[in-house]
């Protein structure tokens, strides 16, 4: 086109970023890439390679090694060998390396960006202005955390070897999110990039070598799902960190169940994008662009469900359609396009099939009048209106540039619709009213809530999901705890000796309980029936059966109800109706202090009870005293486990809000019948969780005695339920109940695997806690408990008038 013609038409022209340096890098490697293990490039054992393709033009960029089980083994061994030295290097030495990596990323930022766009198909604008700068920022930020580990994470140690599996949508950024905190906390890693997008991870491996990172600390193994499976199942991996689909996340949860491997999962989403009638609608439209047409909508936290006030919907739809008409889809390397290429034909087909299904189910589809390029994998921006919550496209994650729009009547309904999903990764809220924004944000079940913004990320802020969007956080202080363990714990892995046998405390002796004879000998003592405690009331077990309780000499001294799954169900219903989570920290503190006060008033009785079950009679008094102190401790924490404000480098207040996990099943330890019970329930209650407690099976009477304390201490109904019975059976019912957010299990002898397997269905948070000395305040109380009782939600609030 001639200048004079363009002068008339004022069209945009091509503005390609040069791919020459990136191709030169590929050529230097002969377009054939091995595995980066123990600081060197190795050919895969199997000799197998697969193609990696540029989605923008469907051309092959090179071949990538398919790592086998043997290769994974070699990589894990290398990481294990390197661990000792890396740990010994200390915080400052590790900080220096992370700093060098950050510098290296910046120095080669354009090369990384172009390579990322070639391999992934995302617009060069995004890789250049968003992905790569965030990668550098992540390493800088964590160089800082490495430096500060001894002071800021005192009492914690690295886990060891971390297996990390990342997705193809933000290849290098997800690598940074995984590797930076792992290394900062002194771990070594084996990372598997997604098979569609290995190149920047391999370039990163080269950078690690260039900055002199000792061998074996970072190992990059490429391959498909089989490689990932081998990594997940490797015996010598201490933790798996995975980002990807909920389906695969669930498989990993099941695969690692019972192994003691620590696990963090960042999974799918169907994030709501809520538009109230007082929002700046033009800015909302740009928000939608950032929400669903960023990275072609291949974003786990994409705002893919627009929920708009009914009276505003018409105007918003008009504005959106006009804006969509101006979006430009094309060559990802073109600096003037908005939307690049979909990663692969298989994804394109999935998007297409879901869009067709949306149309078939009666929704109104709208796409711009222009057509997409034909020589790559492109899909046009798509808006569905007339969508009902029951529609398939309103429920499943499409992972493409497709957004659905639904309306609501009231803000209460907006919240209900927003939370009407199994996922809980992110949400975006648009309103000019701070009252409304800060009312809605805490009520959304999502790990990240963006007010008047969307898809904003930073290394200082935690990111991760509620519900089936996974668990664990990446970024910020909260993300570090995924890569450490308490120093007092020798290992997070269960000892090999521990078998899988079920609890054996009760039921073996069929002898019926008799009320013990009174000392006088004449009159029998009054029968004291320990019932279940559900919804603030004593309840008979649904089963109609009781279990005998034996004292330390094996005599039957009482009977407790044998709880079953219906009792668990009833306790959940009571918890859902409870006023406890809405109480202020101050109120919760008062109740916990009151529990302590009432326990103290009856300390003799509780001491006597303990003496029935323990030979250490002098110890019983101390256990009661410690229990009282522990209640005081968590009463103190109830209004002091404070949220943080993260220092993100934007004009934003980023609130890392501490929220209760929700309804928690707490399966108490067998040892320390009173202290173990109190130590487990009190931190959960203190932070506003509703607790369904299953007392230790051997000596449940301290717990059942406790409900009288609860009754007299103003604890609202449903805050605490106590279900006695067979522990292994009840914990399974808890793990398999989809309306319970978390389960803590203090196993007697292993058996956590079944809990983790059952919990996988709803991605319930599980804490299979290792054995500990409950009398020791470091092991038996404190921040470890509080963190497990907390879900952190990051709320981003931009400001400025």
């Amino acid at each position: 086109m001639k200048v004079a013609e363009i002068f008339e038409s004022m069209e945009y022209g091509p503005a390609p970023e040069s791919a020459v340096p990136a191709h030169a890098w590929l050529d230097r490697h002969g377009r054939r890439f091995g595995l980066f293990i123990d600081g060197e490039w190795r050919d895969p054992e199997s000799g197998a390679y697969f193609d990696t393709v540029n989605p923008g033009n469907a051309q092959t960029l090179g071949v990538i090694a398919q790592a086998s089980t043997d290769d994974v083994d070699a990589a894990v061994n290398a990481a294990r060998d390197a661990f000792k030295g890396w740990r010994a290097l200390g915080p400052h030495g590790r900080a220096r390396y992370l700093y060098a990596i950050a510098r290296g990323i910046q120095k080669h930022s354009r090369e990384f960006a172009v390579l990322e766009t070639l391999d992934n198909g995302k617009p060069i604008r995004e890789s250049r202005d968003i992905d790569i700068p965030l990668v550098a920022r992540h390493f800088y930020h964590h160089a800082g955390w490495a430096q500060l580990m001894d002071t800021e994470l005192a009492g914690h140690e690295p886990l060891g070897v971390i297996g990390q599996i990342i997705p193809w949508n933000f290849p290098l950024l997800m690598l940074a999110w995984k590797i930076a905190p792992a290394l900062a906390m002194g771990n070594t890693v084996v990372l598997k990039p997604a098979e569609f997008t290995s190149l920047t991870a391999l370039r990163f491996a080269e950078l690690c070598a260039d900055v002199g990172l000792p061998k074996g600390i970072v190992n990059i193994i490429t391959g498909d799902g089989r490689t990932g499976e081998a990594l997940v199942n490797h015996e010598d991996v201490d933790k798996i960190a995975f980002t990807g689909s909920t389906d695969v996340g669930r498989i990993i949860r099941v695969a690692t169940a019972g192994t003691g491997k620590k696990l963090s999962l960042e999974l799918g989403g169907k994030s709501p994008f809520i538009v109230f009638d007082d929002a700046d609608l033009d800015s909302v439209v740009e928000g939608v662009v950032d929400a669903i047409w960023f990275n072609q909508g291949q974003v786990c936290c994409a705002g893919s469900r627009i929920l708009v006030h009914e009276g505003t919907a018409g105007r918003l739809i008009e504005k959106l359609r006009a804006r969509m008409e101006r979006l430009r889809v094309g060559d990802p390397l073109d600096k003037a396009i908005d939307i690049g290429a979909i990663i692969a034909p298989v994804q394109l087909e999935r998007i297409d099939a879901l869009v067709k299904q949306g149309v078939a189910e009666g929704a109104t589809m709208w796409q711009p009048s222009w057509s997409c390029p034909q020589d790559g994998y492109f899909f046009p921006p798509t808006l569905f209106t007339d969508v009902a919550p029951a529609a398939t496209i309103a429920q499943v994650e499409i992972f493409g540039p497709v957004v659905v729009l639904m309306s609501f009547r009231t803000h209460a309904e907006a919240i209900e619709l927003a939370n009407n999903t199994r996922y809980g990764l992110a949400a975006s809220v648009w309103t000019e009213s701070i009252n409304l924004a800060l009312d809605v944000a805490p009520k959304l079940k999502a790990g990240t809530v963006w007010i008047n913004s969307t898809n904003v990320f930073d290394a200082a802020s935690g990111f991760g999901g509620y519900r089936e969007s996974g668990f664990g956080r990446e970024g910020g202080r909260e993300g570090l705890y995924e890569y450490v363990k308490p120093s007092w714990q020798a290992s997070i892995r269960p000892s090999k000796a521990a078998g899988g046998a079920a609890g054996n405390g009760a039921g073996s002796n069929a002898e019926a309980a008799r009320p013990p004879a009174s000392r006088a000998g004449d009159m029998p003592a009054i029968d004291r029936t320990a019932k279940l405690y559900i919804g603030g009331k004593q309840a008979r077990p649904d089963s109609g059966y009781s279990l005998p309780v034996h004292d330390r000499r094996g005599r039957v001294v009482a009977e407790v109800g044998q709880g079953n799954r219906k009792d668990i169900r009833n306790a959940v219903e009571a918890a859902r109706a409870s006023a406890w989570p809405k109480q202020t920290g101050h109120n919760r503190a008062q109740v916990l202090f009151y529990l302590a006060e009432n326990l103290a008033a009856r300390s003799d009785e509780f001491t006597q009870r303990l003496r029935q079950f323990t030979a250490r009679s002098s110890d019983a008094k101390r256990e009661v005293e410690t229990s009282i102190e522990r209640l005081f401790m968590y009463a103190a924490y109830a209004d002091k486990w404070e949220s943080r404000v993260h220092q993100t480098p934007a004009r934003m207040i980023t609130l890392a809000m501490h929220e209760p996990v929700g309804v928690l099943g707490v399966v108490c330890p067998d040892e320390r019948p009173l202290l173990g019970f109190i130590s487990a329930i009190a931190p959960a209650l203190a932070l506003g969780n509703c607790v369904i407690a299953v007392p230790g099976e051997g000596a449940p009477l301290s717990a059942t005695d406790f409900y009288q304390i609860a009754d007299t201490s103003d604890l609202p109904a449903g805050a605490l339920s106590i279900i006695t019975g067979r522990r292994t059976e009840l914990v399974s019912h808890i793990a398999a109940h989809d309306d319970i957010e978390g389960v803590w299990y203090f196993p007697v002898d292993g058996g956590g695997g079944e809990v983790e397997r059952l919990a996988a269905a709803s991605m319930k948070r599980t804490w299979i806690a290792g054995p500990r000395d409950w009398m020791d305040p470091v092991q038996g109380s404190g921040e470890e408990f509080l963190r497990h009782a907390t879900e952190i939600k990051n709320i981003w609030v931009p400001y400025g008038e």
Binding site: F7, P14, D278, D280, S283, V329
Partner: protein, 332 residues
Amino acid sequence: MTRPRTIDAAPRPHTGRIPRNPGFPLELDWVADVRVNRSAVERRTATIGTRRTVKKDWQAAWLLRAVTLMDLTTLAGDDTPGYVQRLCAKAMRPVREDILESLGAEHLRITTAAVCVYHQLVSVAVQALRGSGIPVAAVSTGFPAGLSPFAQRLDEVRASVAEGADEIDVVITRAHVLNGEWEALYDEVRAFRDACGDAHVKVILGTGELGTLRNTARASMVAMMAGADFIKTSTGKEAVNAVLPTGLVMARMIREYRERTGHIVGFKPAGGIRTAKQSLEWLMLMKEELGALWLTPQLFRFGASSLLADIERQLEHHVTGRYSAGHRHPIA
């Protein structure tokens, strides 16, 4: 490879007159409804120049277009008839002929959109531009503060029109905006418009003195209802003049007003636009937010004095491949 088509193929410039905005009865609800979220606006404007770019021939063509959208301006105490005559000569031949020939643009009759001066120099400019078709714009109504007696401000408008000014850039009383006196603002602008007669009126909001983007948006809406042909950011004399967030908000109000009334209003950023790159960002903002119709002098003007010099250098660079020097281009 196939390129996406765009829907907003530009109409030919200088053809097909767009009807003037007749104004609209004051609707206070429209003013009250205005919502502007500054952070979101800034995020949008931060990516205007990163989501879009024009390179090579496209850049040259866009820069040529920018020249034709310029109100070449001098508004200084030392303006003299001789200087204004030189400025007018530059307006008629803004780009060196050999550069235009190299670009194949010699037939495009590249001139600036207008020349903008104080009232005292209107007759000089009218004389100097006679026959060129380039309109003369006069700043008026007690420019830049706009606080002289109201009757005097109207007389100033009439006087400039009588001298032959085709366009009048008026300033509003900022206090009306700061104090939410929308009827007063409406009446003031309406009176200016009436005083202009057939001359087009550009309403300068003085956005750098309005405090918030929301005030800018509300003042834009009232000025358009009162019959502004253009809304204009600034006098060039405020501490903050034409910046993209302000421009985005005003452009969105122009769109809103059109959606509500069907009437079309032009936009003029003024002050602080000095580089070719900045001018391209403004053009991309217009194309993205309002469409290519706002890339014609009927609906878009730059108020600028030093921008032209940078554009000339960039055009020569495009032609020769060598970075150009200021002294290679004739000044006013």
